[in-house]
Symmetry: C2
Subunit: 145 residues, 2 copies
Amino acid sequence: MSKSLPSTSRSLPIALIRAREGVMYPIRKMLSETGITEQQWRVLRVLIEFGRMDTKTLADRSSLLFPSLTRIVATLREKGLVTQTRDDKDRRRQFIEITPEGQRIIDERTSQAADIVTSFKKTLGEDDYEALLDLLARLDPGAQD
Amino acid sequence: MSKSLPSTSRSLPIALIRAREGVMYPIRKMLSETGITEQQWRVLRVLIEFGRMDTKTLADRSSLLFPSLTRIVATLREKGLVTQTRDDKDRRRQFIEITPEGQRIIDERTSQAADIVTSFKKTLGEDDYEALLDLLARLDPGAQD
DNA sequence: TAGCAATAGTTAACATGTTAAGGGAATGGT
DNA sequence: ACCATTCCCTTAACATGTTAACTATTGCTA
């Protein structure tokens, strides 16, 4: 008979937004000094972690929708942070690769970003931090449990 | 010496996005039949739960930034789902109130939305579901622990 | 091999997120 | 009364989220 909704203060979607807001605050503060956005940072990090890849894979690994990624890659290319080359075997596909300049931007802030991660681990405690990541993964349809 | 970043697959911001994506998928599907967006739904729900209130309070309770709320309220007003009246005592302030038509839209979908909530509780289990909400609240700077 | 479906990616249109600036109204101190 | 400050809200500008339509290329298949 659960025909009523929970109070908005116990709503899962809202809780996810608010948590994200809290987590992103120091990260956005850090990124504001770099001139790149949170999503651009994410794309560059994925490119560093996995290397050159096609747009579809990049969208998937960055958790970005295709149209968003199209725009973001265009911006990054204009900034000289990535290169975009067409696949000769399948001319529909494009390969994206990070440039040394892109590498540099991430490298310069990696230590600072790691400190932010550490501070959240301290806030929750190592165990709760890992437990949270596991719980979140169980809500992700893309994750293979 | 933790100077390196976690793999993007264990990144807290990314995990929050992906979990949110998973949670929102069925909700967006449900909302697509109503003609209102997720944020508009959230605003209407807050108005039902707490009643008439000023814009600032509404923004806070809806977890929306002021500029976003300005646009959303304008849209809802045009749709006839809320009314906006100026405070006579302090003419800077505006009061927002839901209309019967707005009420109706939420009422018609409340049972459906409750089912979605139930399905996520079942996915995680009641205990883990509550644990997740508590963990998320600890990341929310606005929540008073 | 002509035709049709599937795939990779872009473009369009509208709503929201985010930061900064602006505008009108109350407030506090002088 | 005067003025700076603060407050509530709006507007602007740019980036992203989201869905749908579209282009180009490839693959399948009758």
